[in-house]
């Protein structure tokens, strides 16, 4: 999909195709108009001012920072600390915007024939910012810190399938309980920043192999970085002399800072103002279709949601296109009640799209024999941006089908501990994962900690394990397709929309690309972009 779009956008840049034609073709490939326009702007930029420039100070304004933040990668869960990690640290591998493995601390990786043992060859001569060279032992210690018994790491879940880890010469060896063809993708998780001695001595010291070192660290206010002279990959990253990240949690403060030229880029532009902001002369709004999605989740083991007819009634009652238009203002795409979309490798695009249908909703609701007692949907503003409005839209279309949906508004504070994964029907969001296996293992495996729909099907688990061990991609794709269909038709997940990552970028910033792995170029804007008038 990506190759074809790249080819097409190149044609537009050369004047062989009109913009309108391009957007039409892109839509046929499942790309939203907003993203198609961004791609066009990019290919034009690649033709124009593509040479990186060294020097200057690159400033970004970000939401998602608090005075409680730390530099410990294990405890990183929001965008500001994540941007910080990318400045000073690097992982074994990264996932490129095209969804491929990009080697960082590892220079290559080899799997045994059964995909159960993996050897990462570690690069030599890469210095940490404390002057010491990074070694395979540091890698091993890092992975141990994130997986041992007293780990508090957010990556603990993905480290679970590892039976044994060791160092063998230049190689870091991972032995798995069960085969997993996607292991390298798991090692690209942002928590797994390689630290000296694995960060066991001082996890929050901010010492790593990244292009910058921390100069000022004021959580919740600002973080300033200075370029390292001894950075190993300075030909590709770390263009600005200094990087400053200002914590601007207020959406208006962020856009004002961008408009008045105090920062070069901001994250999370509110879709409501994105098209207005885009009109400003000195900046552009950039969006990237990602894997993140907004959901309404039902516990399928709790009445009345244990009845698949009722679940189907609710799934047909939701008007997905209306949600994309009104909640995301076009900065997103419609969902299909499965957590996978075209941004994932091995996605089967022949799975039929579920359409909004009052008749079908009525039909399934009648079949469910629900007693007519109110069905309570719990929601808070913090569940996802626009969650309360989305629930109200859902309630209206459900009522049209005669389904007594009732909204109970919960406070933001404590939502993730008291409502999500506790109450049987609520709003939530998922950030998406780089590969299908990881998304399903995280939330749809019987034993998953975050199985927030209580989806426990042995045959589904078996398929997931079979796909993991399958190195033939055609066969894997087929298995994933079956799993997707099963979840779509029987699961507790109502997935109305996939949200784009929307950022605001000053025209003075060069090197911006679309990265579906996360907002702000998968949080690498500060290390991959440059200041044009530096």
């Amino acid at each position: 999909m990506n190759d074809e779009l790249k080819y097409l956008s190149g044609k537009v840049a050369k004047g062989l195709m009109t913009r309108r034609e391009f957007v039409g073709r892109a839509a046929a490939l499942g790309v939203t108009a907003a993203v198609a326009n961004t791609m066009l702007a990019e290919s034009a930029a690649a033709d124009g001012h593509g040479t990186p420039k060294r020097g200057g100070m690159l400033k970004i304004g970000s939401s998602g920072g608090e005075s409680t933040n730390t530099q410990d990668p294990a405890l990183t869960a929001s965008e500001v600390p994540l941007n910080n990690l990318r400045c000073w640290g690097e992982t074994l591998v990264e996932i490129s915007p095209e969804g491929e493995i990009e080697y960082r601390m590892a220079e290559s990786v080899e799997a045994s024939a059964d995909a159960q043992t993996w050897a990462f060859k570690i690069r030599k001569g890469i210095p940490f910012s404390n002057g010491k060279d990074m070694t395979p032992e540091d890698v091993l210690k890092t992975m141990q810190r994130h997986s041992n018994d007293d780990s508090q790491s957010g990556a603990l879940g993905i480290m679970k399938g590892i039976a044994n880890m060791k160092v063998d010469g230049d190689n870091f060896i991972v032995e798995l309980d069960t085969p997993n063809a996607d292991l390298p993708f798991l090692m690209g998780d942002y928590h797994l920043m390689i630290q000296p001695n694995g960060g066991m001595d001082d996890p929050g010291a901010g010492i790593g192999t990244g292009p910058y070192t921390i100069e000022i660290d004021e959580p919740g206010v600002r973080h300033a970085f200075k370029r390292r002279d001894d950075y190993w990959d300075s030909e590709n990253r770390g263009w600005a002399d200094e990087v400053e990240q200002l914590v601007l949690n207020d959406a208006t403060a962020r856009t004002a800072a961008l408009q008045s030229g105090q920062v070069h880029a901001i994250n999370r532009v509110d879709p409501k103002v994105a098209s207005l902001l885009d009109r400003a002369p000195n900046l552009s709004v950039q969006s990237a279709s990602g894997r993140g999605h907004y959901v309404f989740i039902m516990h399928i083991d709790t009445a009345p949601f244990d009845n698949n007819e009722l679940r189907l009634a609710l799934k047909y009652a939701i008007d997905r296109q209306e949600m994309v238009d009104k909640i995301l203002r076009g900065y997103g795409s419609i969902g299909n009640d499965m957590p996978i979309n075209a941004s994932y490798p091995l996605f089967d695009d022949t799975i039929p799209q579920r359409e909004h249908s009052i008749e079908k909703a009525k039909e399934h609701y009648a079949k469910s024999g629900h007693d007519g007692s109110p069905i309570i949907l719990r929601v808070a503003d913090g569940a996802f941006p626009g969650a309360v409005d989305a629930a109200a839209l859902f309630q209206q279309t459900a009522q049209a089908a005669g389904i007594p949906l009732e909204i109970k508004r919960e406070p933001n504070d404590g939502y993730w501990s008291e409502v999500w994964n506790v109450q049987p029907f609520c709003a939530s969001y998922w950030g998406g994962r780089p590969v299908q296996d990881q998304m399903y293992s995280t939330a749809y495996l019987s034993t998953a900690d975050w199985n927030d729909t209580r989806w426990k099907r042995p045959e589904f688990d078996a398929m997931l394990n079979a796909a993991k061990a399958e190195l033939d991609t055609a066969k894997r794709k087929e298995i994933y397709s079956k799993m997707g269909r099963m979840l779509r038709d029987e699961g507790g997940l109502i997935l109305p929309m996939f949200n784009d990552f929307v950022s605001g970028v000053s025209n003075n910033l060069g090197g911006w690309i679309t990265d579906p792995n996360g907002g702000m170029m998968n949080n690498k804007a500060a290390i991959k972009c440059w200041v044009k008038d530096a």
Binding site: A77, Q152, G220, R222, W416, S417
Partner: protein, 318 residues
């Protein structure tokens, strides 16, 4: 002992007891909130194992009462402890936040208090004529608009359209005083507009009240000029209610400006407290809560003392 000194000593002792009670209330309040610090740190990505590990490390398995007393013990010996969420020394982070808050409050007060009193006097001088009506209309309008709205409007005009001042008020130690003042210019304007009306109206009302007294009429009959009557005779007698409302507004400038801090990304105490409340970081919430309580109690104490000193009847009680 002089009765006033005795009064002050009594008030301070009472203030300390109030602070102690406040600390218990704050602690109990944060205990009642759903979830704990471990859950809030890990958020949606919490697993039972990582939760248990984090709780053990943060000492959350101790019973609340013993946690309260160990905190109190530290506090009385001058040790505020470390933040549960990021392990930083509370006294250090709080120190810079507090000085930022006081910096902003100081400049806002320096402009708004004299301005409010001056406008109040002016309104009395031109009572029921157009200057009085204009002053009241403008200040009542600005107090009625939510402060974030005033903030956004000023950002739009002054920062984006005119480009005079920065819309981001982040200050740090590396900046000169001039740079700092430049950064906080718009927030100071917002705060001034927000607190002006209250103090101005109270000044006007208190002086008008005094103006109806017989001795003012006498002064008028003696042929004194209106402004000097207000300044020499009316104002000293109206000072007690004015000081009270000024102190209330000063307290607001210190403890109530979290919305303005958010809009301008100003690194003050309000944002710091809100972040830690939402993370259930009890030691920090305690420390901030006590500082806020102390500011209120202290400023009220000052207001009381000033009104006593300003009033001879209270100064020499029979």
């Amino acid at each position: 002992m002089h009765p006033i000194l005795k009064l002050i000593a009594q008030r301070i002792a009472l203030g300390i007891m109030l602070l102690f009670a406040a600390s218990i209330l704050i602690f109990a309040g944060t205990m009642m909130l759903p979830g704990d610090v471990a859950q809030q740190i890990l958020g949606q990505s919490a697993t039972p194992e990582s939760l248990a590990n984090l709780r053990r490390e943060l000492g959350l398995n101790e019973p609340p009462v013993s946690r309260y007393f160990s905190w109190l013990g530290g506090f009385l010996t001058g040790d505020l402890g470390t933040a549960l969420t990021n392990g930083r020394d509370i006294a250090e982070s709080l120190g810079s936040r507090l000085s930022n808050t006081l910096f902003l409050a100081f400049w806002a007060a320096l402009i708004s208090v004299p301005l409010a009193i001056f406008l109040g006097l002016l309104a009395v001088r031109y009572k029921d004529r157009w200057p009085d009506k204009l002053i009241s209309a403008v200040t009542l309008t600005t107090i009625s608009i939510p402060e974030f709205m005033i903030g956004y409007v000023l950002i739009y005009w002054i920062s984006i359209q005119l480009g005079w001042f920065s819309s981001v008020a982040i200050i740090n130690d590396g900046m000169s005083l001039w740079q700092k003042l430049n950064a906080i210019a718009i927030p100071v304007m917002v705060l001034t507009l927000v607190v002006l009306a209250h103090m101005m109206r109270m000044t006007r009302a208190a002086i008008l009240n005094v103006m109806q007294s017989a001795y003012i009429e006498t002064a008028e009959l003696k042929g004194m000029r209106m402004l000097s009557i207000i300044r020499k005779h009316a104002f000293p007698n109206a000072i007690a209610p004015i000081v009270n409302v000024v102190m209330l507004n000063l307290a607001y400038l210190v403890v109530g400006v979290v919305v303005v801090e958010v809009v301008f990304a100003y690194p003050g105490m309000g944002q710091y407290l809100v972040d830690h409340v939402s993370k259930r970081d009890v030691p920090v919430v305690q420390a901030c809560g006590l500082i806020f309580a102390a500011v209120y109690i202290g400023l009220n104490l000052i207001a009381d003392i000033v009104s006593i000193l300003a009033n001879p009847r209270l100064r020499h009680p029979k």
